[in-house]
């Protein structure tokens, strides 16, 4: 019986040792910080280099429409950090998307726990919106992300972006324009939907070389100039639209303009 008791005690001690040393909690504690740093993205919205004054009719687009900006909501995803000195990596690979909403300050910073190998990185790129693989209907159950749904009949998934503005129409009256991007539709001659087009696109940020230092936090501001979505090169006259969710031609033009809507500022 004494031997049995000793065996039991040994097993118990081994069991406790295993959990103390192999559990995720202990692993976190003992993980070395060698040669890694942190990276955080801040999202900034401007017009012509100045912070936006929301709900204020002071902006003019390339078509000459006077307008105000009311809502700015969008997804960016699959950020890639390119480097020739260390391996290029995907930022936050487990959850590679981020929702940005000017009304929710906590969405204006994307700072996951992932450690980034220290070194010099040459440039940053990201997908504007959600790629085909990530843009699945019913993925987000909770607001505010869930409110970005894109109806199944129009292709499903989620809005890449909602920029909602009020403007003075050609008669001088207040009107609404919704710059909503998402999956586009291919229609036949009878206007029946026969296929879909994923309008997401990859943006490479100009002058986005940055450095990750061991144990340090590097910050990158991703700056979106709202006015650039409306041209050039394609001039978007709000009077010609209301919403554009089932207008693939308009969405294509806005995507074309959007490629140059982004810049960045490195805060190392």
């Amino acid at each position: 019986m004494k031997i049995t008791y000793k065996i039991f005690n040994s097993v118990l001690v081994a069991f406790i040792w295993y959990f103390a040393s192999v559990s995720p909690l202990s692993a976190q504690k003992s993980e070395p910080d060698n040669n890694y740093g942190d990276l955080s993205f801040n999202f900034v919205h401007q017009v012509d280099g100045n912070p936006i004054l929301y709900d204020t009719m002071i902006y003019t687009n390339s078509a000459g429409n006077k307008y105000e900006i009311n809502q700015v909501q969008y997804f960016i995803s699959e950020i890639v950090l390119y480097s020739h000195s260390v391996d290029s990596i995907m930022f936050s690979p487990l959850i590679p998307w981020h929702y940005v909403d000017k009304d929710y300050p906590n969405t204006l910073i994307w700072s996951p726990d992932d450690k980034i190998p220290a070194g010099r990185y040459d440039s940053i790129s990201f997908i504007f919106g959600l790629s085909k693989n990530n843009n699945k209907s019913y993925r987000f159950k909770n607001p505010p992300e869930s409110i970005m749904f894109w109806p199944d009949v129009l292709g499903g998934g989620y809005h890449y972006m909602k920029i909602n503005v009020r403007y003075h129409n050609n008669n001088g009256d207040i009107s609404n324009f919704n710059c909503h991007l998402g999956i586009g539709q291919i229609r036949n001659e009878q206007k029946k939907i026969i296929g879909f087009i994923h309008n997401y696109f990859r943006v490479t940020l100009p002058a986005s070389s940055f450095k990750i230092s061991k144990g340090e936090i590097s910050k990158v501001e991703i700056i979106m100039d709202i006015n650039k979505w409306f041209g050039p090169p394609d001039i978007i006259d709000f009077n010609n639209y209301g919403g554009i969710m089932d207008n693939q031609e308009a969405m294509r033009s806005i995507c074309k303009n959007g490629s140059s809507a982004f810049s960045c500022r490195i805060i190392e």
Binding site: M1, K2, Y5, F8, D55, N70, Q71, S137, Y138, K141, N142, P143, S146, I147, F149, P151, D152, V153, L154, N164, V165, R166, N169, D173, I174, S175, N176, F177, N178, G242, G243, M245, D246
Partner: protein, 401 residues
């Protein structure tokens, strides 16, 4: 026998007991656990958001919900036993109308409720369904929210104490007791009346561990019952589950609803937003002048919020006439006609309302019929007949029929 052997047996017994306690504490239903604590009630609907608005100091329990159900229907909540002065939540919130009063209610002409004093409520009702998933504030203007730090009501003699806050569904209970538009009563009188009804002290004991009735416990119990009112089994839900069919007309209605032709979905949701509301506050182009004192502006004091009201859920919309915050539309046809050709332009209209640019959707009559047909698929007939939500003592003269 070695003297250390009992330790092994003790370990086995403790492990078994621990597992038993664990099983008791996580099981849902009507079995009370070992320590006579109220039984936790798990509120989880797979298609709805995970983020529930349940205060940490009022977790839902089977016993709390049951007590709340009794109080919800007991006319003595008014603090009176006189038949003419009975009033409770159920006086206006009727199950058959998704817990609104209903436009055909013989007591409340045109679906506009009033209290014991005869004063009509400032707004028409909102349905009491799926409220546990509202995190943006309650009532048409969102006044009841966690960000509201007001306490008490000096005019009505309610002291500025933490229990008299304006933060959640619990607050709506004490407010209803003193409101001149509802019970117009006295909190102390209500508490005393409930305390002296033999039915209740044991129920309070089971729900809260004490047979002493307090306004805080009344608030909590009724709030728990209201949070348990879940509607998620409409024909459209069954269609999404592959258990029901929609007609061609209903399918066309769904398409109109979820494209920019109807453009209903940006505010009222879709299968991907199955509460069928964003629960946000919007100005939907009903008016040009905004003089109503109970709009969202009255809460935020942001001039841009003039004329904004909560976007109501479309679940059971068939049952909840009259429509809009002031009940100006009596039928769904009137509502659809408003959105089709009656939108009014103003700088306060929500920018999502792109159909404002042209005065409305301008759909054909057939399309409007299809849109209505689709809306009717959101009626949950099992909800309005669910015995869990009904009057527990219909034969009792004090309970509101």
């Amino acid at each position: 026998m070695n003297r250390k052997q009992p330790n092994i047996i003790l370990i086995i017994i403790c492990t078994g007991l621990g597992l038993f306690i664990l099983t008791c504490s996580v099981s849902k239903g009507f079995v009370r656990n070992l320590f006579d604590q109220p039984t936790p009630y798990l509120l989880k609907i797979s298609i709805f958001p995970d983020s529930l608005n349940i205060p940490a100091d009022n977790p839902m329990t089977v016993e709390g919900i049951e007590l709340g159900r009794y109080l919800f229907y007991d006319g003595r909540l008014s603090g009176n036993k006189d038949k003419k002065k009975l009033m409770s939540c159920a006086s206006c919130h009727k199950q058959e109308h998704s817990f609104e009063c209903g436009i055909d209610n013989p007591l409340y002409k045109g679906g506009r409720p009033h209290g014991l004093s005869g004063k009509e409520t400032p707004h028409v009702m909102l349905p009491l369904i799926n409220l546990a998933w509202i995190n943006e504030g309650y009532l048409w203007n969102g006044k009841i929210s966690n960000s509201n730090n007001t306490l008490g009501d000096e005019k009505l003699g309610v002291p500025a104490e933490p229990i008299y806050n304006y933060k959640n569904i619990e607050s709506l209970v004490w407010m209803s007791i003193v409101s001149p538009y509802e019970i117009a009563g006295n909190i102390e009188k209500t508490v005393n009346t409930i305390q002296n009804i033999p039915l209740y002290p044991p129920m309070f004991k089971k729900a809260f561990g004490s047979d002493t009735v307090t306004i805080e416990r009344i608030d909590k119990a009724i709030a728990q019952f209201i949070r348990s009112l879940v509607s998620c089994n409409s024909r459209f839900d069954r269609f999404m589950d592959g258990k029901a069919e929609l007609t061609t007309s209903e399918m066309n209605g769904l398409t109109l609803f979820t494209t920019e032709r109807g453009d209903c979905f940006h505010c009222h949701g879709s299968p991907a937003l199955p509460l069928w509301t964003t629960n946000l506050f919007m100005n939907n182009a009903k008016d040009i002048d905004f003089n109503e004192i109970g709009d969202r502006f009255s809460v935020t004091h942001n001039p841009r919020d003039r004329g904004k009201y909560r976007v109501p859920t479309l679940r059971n919309i068939e049952l909840t006439a009259p429509y809009m915050h002031d009940g100006r539309f009596k039928t769904l046809e009137e509502v659809l006609e408003f959105y089709n050709s009656g939108l009014k332009r103003s700088p306060y209209v929500d920018p999502l309302m792109i159909n404002m640019n042209h005065g409305g959707m301008h759909l054909t009559n057939k399309d409007l019929i299809d849109l209505k047909a689709f809306l009717l698929t959101l009626t949950d007939s099992t909800f309005i007949t669910n015995p869990q939500y009904s009057n527990p003592l219909p034969w009792n003269k004090y309970f509101i029929k």
